[in-house]
C-alpha cells in the first residue's frame, strides 16, 4: 500500500464516520423530545456533514480519479463504506442517541487534537476547524449523560441499558491496520493507542458522576473499517442515496 492509498483510505474512514452519524442525527429533525434538543441534534448533524464534506473533498483530490465529494458520499455500495459500526446504530430513544454521541465525541476530541499537529497541512487545517465544533458536541453529550444517568429511575435504567449495549463498539474506534501504521510513521496521524487510557479515564469520570457503569463484559464487535456492517447501514444508505439513484446527477 502506498502512502497515497493509505491517506485516501483514512480520509474515507473518517468522512464516512461523520456522514453516517450526521445522517442518523438528522433523523431526529422534527422528532426531538423538546424543541431545544431537536435543534441541538440537527445542529450537530450539520457540523458532522460539514466535516464529512471537507474530508471527502480532500479524499477525492488524493485519489485523483475524477470522483467528486458527492460521488464518494452518494455513489458507493454498502461494502465500500468504511465507518465504524457505532455510528450506524439506530437512534433508539433520546438516551441511546446521547450515549452513542458521548462515546463518539470523546474519541473525536482526542483524535482531532492529535490531527491538529499533522504534518499534512490540509488535515491539520481541517482538524483545527473541526476541534472547535467537537468541543461543543462533547459538552452537550457529557452534560446529558449526567442529567439522564443521575436523573429519575426510568432515565437511569434506560441510559444504563444503552451504555451496556453500545459499549460493544468502543474498541473499534481504536481500530488500526496497515493504513494507520503507514500514516503514523509519516507523522500524518497520531497513534490512537497513546490516548486510549485518557479516553477511558475521561468517560469513566463522567459515567461515575452519572451513577452509570461500563459493563464487565468486554465482548466487542468490529468490521466497519473493512466494509462489513450491521444490517442497519443498508437501510440508512437506501434513504441517503435515494435522490442520486433515482435522478442520477441531480443538483439542488
Amino acid at each position: 500500500m502506498t502512502k497515497q492509498e493509505a491517506l485516501f483510505e483514512f480520509l474515507l474512514r473518517k468522512a464516512d464516520d461523520s456522514l453516517i452519524l450526521g445522517h442518523r442525527l438528522s433523523e431526529w429533525c422534527g422528532h426531538g423530545p423538546i424543541l431545544e434538543e431537536d435543534i441541538a441534534l440537527t445542529n450537530i448533524s450539520l457540523d458532522l456533514i460539514g466535516q464529512a464534506t471537507e474530508l471527502y473533498k480532500y479524499a477525492a483530490e488524493v485519489e485523483d480519479k475524477g470522483r467528486t465529494e458527492d460521488d464518494l458520499a452518494f455513489l458507493r455500495i454498502e461494502r465500500e463504506y468504511k465507518n465504524v459500526l457505532l455510528v450506524e446504530q439506530l437512534n433508539g430513544d433520546f438516551g441511546k442517541t446521547i450515549v452513542r454521541q458521548f462515546f463518539f465525541d470523546h474519541f473525536e476530541h482526542l483524535l482531532y487534537e492529535g490531527l491538529m499537529n499533522s504534518k499534512d497541512e490540509r488535515i491539520s487545517a481541517i482538524a483545527t476547524k473541526t476541534i472547535k465544533e467537537v468541543k461543543y458536541h462533547l459538552r452537550h453529550s457529557s452534560e446529558w449523560i449526567i442529567r439522564l444517568g443521575d436523573g429519575t429511575e426510568e432515565s437511569h435504567d434506560r441510559v444504563q441499558a444503552s451504555v451496556k449495549d453500545l459499549s460493544r463498539f468502543i474498541n473499534e474506534l481504536f481500530y488500526q491496520d496497515e493504513v494507520e501504521e503507514i500514516l503514523i510513521k509519516e507523522g500524518i496521524i497520531p497513534d490512537v493507542k497513546e490516548f486510549r487510557v485518557a479516553f477511558e479515564n475521561n468517560i469513566e469520570k463522567i459515567l461515575e458522576e452519572a451513577t452509570l457503569k461500563l459493563p464487565e463484559e468486554k465482548w466487542q464487535l468490529t468490521g466497519g473499517r473493512k466494509g462489513v456492517h450491521s444490517e442497519h447501514l443498508g437501510y440508512l444508505l437506501a434513504e441517503l442515496q435515494y435522490m442520486q439513484r433515482t435522478y442520477p446527477g441531480m443538483e439542488w
Binding site: I39, Q51, T128, K129, E133
Partner: protein, 160 residues
C-alpha cells in the same frame, strides 16, 4: 479599481442568517486580490464547517460585484480557522442593537464543566440570565433567557 473599492462593495453583502452583519463585519472575507482588469479573487472562510450560508454568501458576493461589471473567483479556505475574535467592533455593536448578545470573553477554556460565562441580556442589560441550549437557531448561536425581563434571546457564541 483598487482593493479598497472592492472591500467597500463587499460591505453591501450581508450574512443571510444574521442580516444585520456584513460579510466584512463577520470576518468571513479574508482577502481581496487583483487578478486582471475587472477580475478579482475573493478569499472567504466558513464560520462553521457545515454552515449552509456559505454558498449563499458566495453567490451574493458574485452578484454584488457583477453589478459593477466585475467578475470574481471566490476561494474558500479553512486555515487559519475562523474565530469570533474576527468579528469587527462595529459588527459587535450592530449585533447587540439587533437583539443578539455578541461573543463574550468566556475566560475558562476547560471543555467540560468550566465556570459558566456571564452572558448579558441584549435588551435590559441584566447579567442575570440562564442558558437554555448551547445550540440555537443557527450553528453560530446559543439560546438564552433573561431572568429579569424574561425575554428569550440569542447569544452569538464564542468560537476560538
Amino acid at each position: 479599481m483598487k482593493a479598497e473599492d472592492i472591500w467597500a462593495m463587499l460591505e453591501d453583502v450581508t450574512d443571510p442568517e444574521v442580516p444585520v452583519l456584513t460579510v466584512v463585519d463577520l470576518g468571513v472575507v479574508r482577502d481581496v486580490q487583483f487578478v486582471s482588469k475587472d477580475h478579482w479573487k475573493i478569499i472567504i472562510t466558513p464560520t462553521y464547517t457545515g454552515c449552509p450560508a456559505m454558498q449563499v454568501i458566495e453567490e451574493d458576493i458574485k452578484a454584488r460585484l457583477a453589478k459593477e461589471n466585475i467578475t470574481v473567483d471566490v476561494e474558500l479556505v479553512l486555515s487559519p480557522a475562523w474565530t469570533t475574535d474576527w468579528l469587527s467592533q462595529d459588527g459587535r455593536r450592530k449585533l447587540e442593537e439587533y437583539g443578539i448578545t455578541p461573543p463574550q470573553d468566556e475566560g475558562d477554556k476547560s471543555v467540560l464543566f468550566g465556570k459558566k460565562p456571564v452572558i448579558p441580556c441584549p435588551l435590559c442589560k441584566s447579567k442575570n440570565t440562564r442558558l437554555i441550549s448551547q445550540f440555537g437557531s443557527t450553528a453560530c448561536k446559543a439560546h438564552y433567557q433573561c431572568n429579569d425581563c424574561q425575554e428569550p434571546f440569542d447569544y452569538f457564541k464564542c468560537l476560538k
